[in-house]
Symmetry: C2
C-alpha cells in the first residue's frame, strides 16, 4: 500500500478530503484566489456559469476546511473578501498541476474522444 490510509476503503479520511477536492468549482475558485483576495460578486462574475447559490455553498465548505478566509468589512453596503489561507494556497498549487495537465493534454483527449465516437458510429 502506497498510502498511510487505504484510499480504496469506504469512510477513510483521505477519501473525505478527496471528495471535497474533486470539485470543479472548488478548484476554479482556489485558482482564482491565487492572485489575492476577491469579493463575492467579483468571483461570481469572473467564474462564468456558477450560480450564487453554488458559489456560496462552495465558499462555505472551503472556509470550513480552512482553505479560505472570509473577511467582512463594515462598509455600507457591506464588503466581503475571500482569500486563500496558507493551506489553501498550497492546495491551489497542487491543483494547478491538474489544470495545467488538462490544458497540455487536451488535444490528445479530444482526439481520443473523436476516435471513440467515430468507431461507435461505424458499428
Amino acid at each position: 500500500m502506497r498510502y498511510a490510509y487505504n484510499v480504496y476503503e469506504d469512510r477513510c479520511p483521505t477519501r473525505m478530503v478527496l471528495d471535497r477536492l474533486a470539485d470543479k468549482w472548488a478548484l476554479l475558485i482556489l485558482d482564482r484566489l491565487e492572485d489575492g483576495p476577491v469579493r463575492f460578486n467579483h468571483l461570481r462574475r469572473d467564474i462564468k456559469g456558477i450560480s450564487q447559490k453554488v458559489l456560496s455553498q462552495t465558499l462555505k465548505k472551503l472556509e470550513r476546511d480552512g482553505l479560505v478566509t472570509r473577511t467582512v468589512y463594515p462598509t455600507v453596503p457591506v464588503t466581503v473578501e475571500y482569500a486563500l489561507t496558507p493551506l489553501g494556497r498550497a492546495l491551489g498549487e497542487t491543483a494547478a498541476a491538474l489544470t495545467h495537465w488538462a490544458e497540455h493534454n487536451m488535444d490528445a483527449i479530444l482526439a481520443a474522444q473523436a476516435a471513440y465516437d467515430a468507431a461507435l458510429a461505424e458499428r
Copy 2:
C-alpha cells in the same frame, strides 16, 4: 492570464477536461490501475462503495478519453481487463499528487472543520 485558455470562461475546452478529472471515482480508478491491469469485478471489489453502474459508466468515460484501455479475452465466461494508457498513467501520477496532498494535510483540514463547527455551535 496564466493559461492558454481562460479557464474561467464557460465552455472552454480545459473546463471540459477538468470536469471529467474532478471526479472522485475516476481519480481512485486511475490510481488503482497504476500497478497493472485489473478486471472489472476486481475493481468493483477493491474500490469500496462504488456501484457497478457507476463503475461501468466511469470506465466508459475514461476509455473514451483515451486514458484507459478495455481488453476482452474470449474465455468462458468472458474476462475483461482494464489498463492505463500512457496518457492515463501520466494523469494518474498528476492526480496522485492531489491524493498525497490530501493525506498529508488531512489533519489540518479535520482540525479546521472541528474549529469551524465549534465556533458555530457556540453562537
